[in-house]
């Protein structure tokens, strides 16, 4: 292995692989370092991969990538203890090219994606932990790994080391995250026959469905659950802010069991056999928690840069786009022979100008807002369920009587005013 590379990318997830792929494609001598046995062996996500951002890197990827199912329906369940109000959109325009998104299993997908970067000329080094960045004269000039003689040098280092990003922290780019800046998600992959999946989820052969779960899925704690269809497995998970688990003293896997045995969920997963149990943190601090993403000789991408849109459960797409923009910037910087912070700052500008920065800004106060005002999840979702039940139960009462009862159930005028104020507040943080 040569001692010096043009670029070193730390971490083979969507951001790191995208970056290494783009660099290798441009003829840059790039080393991609992964701490796991193989790319994907440490990586977890609910499972939605967005076609558009992936295609910008590998055109026509869907013809060869190990994808599970193209999603044709997205459901949203507002759950109470033994009921749910469900919204859904299903569209056949998502069932064929160009598709909207796909479910994937990350251990399979990341290995494939990394193999594409290797095909382009990237060098992949597995089973290697980067312990620290080597800094000389205020500039990152390489990394020190846990291998013997583990120093590796490069003109530029890309930190794609995920949500914990110990490397960005050690460079002083961010402080330790707070428990209300990260969500702890647990997930299970459950084996179930293809045909049964398609019957239970009302799907044509090969098509997929996602269900997002709100409200009682997290016992009212800020967070969401999900149930996604793969080829012959289901991915079921639940994630809440770590601060919520601490406050309510709830064990994450007990919350998972609660969701799995919930009367709205149990019929979907009946007789499905658990295959794997996974836990992972999701950076949910959003725009306000973003670390410094550029310094001399170094760029930060993906989860390490906190690029997650918690409201729309997007992250892998932001990761890939950030990796691609980092690569573009590096190629341009190589042309200039200038890896100073000012030169690499082009990455930050491009990132913040793209949908990534725009969406992070749009929802910058959302997580904090819903954390601060728990009534949306704790009270309003159950209220919505009671109203639906009241209105749709035929019991001899007139519809006008029912409306009156629903209106009375909301509470006194003061409570109605509070709800109206909360709805306006929610609109303001989401608009």
């Amino acid at each position: 292995m040569p001692e010096k590379f043009d670029a070193i990318v730390v971490g083979a997830g969507p951001a790191g692989i995208a970056c290494a792929y783009e660099l290798a494609k441009a003829g840059v001598n790039v080393l991609l370092i992964e701490r796991g046995e193989y790319p994907g062996s440490k990586n977890v996500m609910g499972g939605v991969l967005y076609r558009k951002m992936m295609e910008e890197i590998v055109p026509d990827f869907h013809k060869e990538a190990p994808l599970e199912r193209p999603i044709v329906e997205q459901r949203f369940m507002m759950m109470d203890k033994s009921s749910a109000v469900t919204f859904s959109y299903k569209g056949m325009e998502w069932a064929s090219e160009p598709f909207n998104n796909f479910t994937v299993l990350r251990a399979k997908f990341d290995q494939w994606f990394a193999s594409k970067a290797v095909e382009k000329g990237a060098l992949l080094l597995n089973e290697t932990v980067v312990l620290e960045c080597i800094v000389e004269n205020g500039k990152v000039v390489g990394v020190r790994t846990d291998r013997p003689d583990g120093e590796l040098r490069a003109d530029v280092v890309v930190l794609a080391d995920g949500v914990n990003s110990l490397l960005a922290k050690s460079l002083g780019f961010h402080k330790e995250f707070r428990p209300d800046e990260v969500a702890l998600a647990t997930m299970e992959v459950l084996k179930l026959d293809k045909k049964i999946i398609e019957d239970r989820f009302n799907l044509e052969e090969g098509q997929g469905c996602t269900i997002e779960l709100f409200g009682d899925a997290t016992k009212g704690i800020l967070g969401t659950g999900f149930l996604y269809t793969n080829k012959d497995t289901l991915s079921i998970g639940v994630g809440t802010l770590l601060s919520g688990l601490i406050k309510h003293k709830i064990k994450p896997y007990e919350l998972m069991e609660y969701v799995k045995t919930h009367p709205m969920i149990r019929p979907y997963i009946q007789n499905a056999e658990p295959q794997e149990y996974l836990a992972h943190l999701i950076p949910e601090g959003g725009y306000h928690s973003m670390p410094k993403v550029v310094a001399a000789g170094v760029l930060v991408v993906g989860d390490a840069a906190q690029l997650v849109n918690a409201i729309h459960r997007e992250g892998s797409n932001m990761a890939m786009t950030s990796g691609r923009l980092a690569a573009d910037t590096i190629v341009a910087a190589m042309g200039r022979g200038d890896f100073s912070e000012a030169s690499l700052d082009e990455y930050r500008k491009k990132l913040m100008g793209s949908f990534v920065g725009q969406d992070l800004k749009k929802y910058k106060d959302a997580t904090h807002h819903f954390d601060k005002f728990p009534q949306y999840f704790e009270q309003y979702i159950p209220m919505m369920n009671r109203a639906a039940s009241q209105m749709l139960t035929v019991d001899g009462a007139s519809k006008r009587e029912k409306q009156k009862k629903i209106w009375r159930d909301i509470g006194p005028a003061k409570q109605k005013f509070k709800i109206a104020r909360d709805l306006i507040r929610a609109w303001k943080v989401m608009k």
Binding site: E176, V182, T261
Partner: protein, 104 residues
């Protein structure tokens, strides 16, 4: 409610031990997790909240000490961030070691 057999199937992995049994680990001989000062857990931390929120139940309080079952760690980072006393030293396991996800 429902088919009792189905309920039984869904409850199969109910315990954390059974969930952890589904996983592959290539454990190092040395722990990558260290409680820096057990005295803090003992005297200043009545909740010992890490024993509750850790998704793999790595932390178990045993009378006077914190048992750290690092071999079953998912490497999520929650304990480092969630410890109210910043009392956990957390690094990644050695390259190639630790948890090996096969699917998700």
């Amino acid at each position: 409610m429902g088919d009792p057999q189905a309920v039984a199937a869904n409850d199969k992995a109910a315990s954390i031990e059974e969930k952890q049994y589904l996983l592959r680990f290539n454990a190092d001989t040395q722990s990558h997790l260290h409680v820096m000062d057990t005295e803090i857990c003992m005297t200043n931390c009545p909740d010992k909240i890490c024993t509750i929120f850790c998704p793999a139940e790595v932390y178990k309080w045993e009378e006077v000490r914190m048992h750290v079952g690092y071999e079953g760690c998912h490497e999520c980072g929650s304990c480092r961030i969630g410890c109210p006393h910043q009392n956990i030293k957390w690094v990644y396991p050695k390259g190639g070691h630790g948890i090996v996800f096969r699917l998700g």
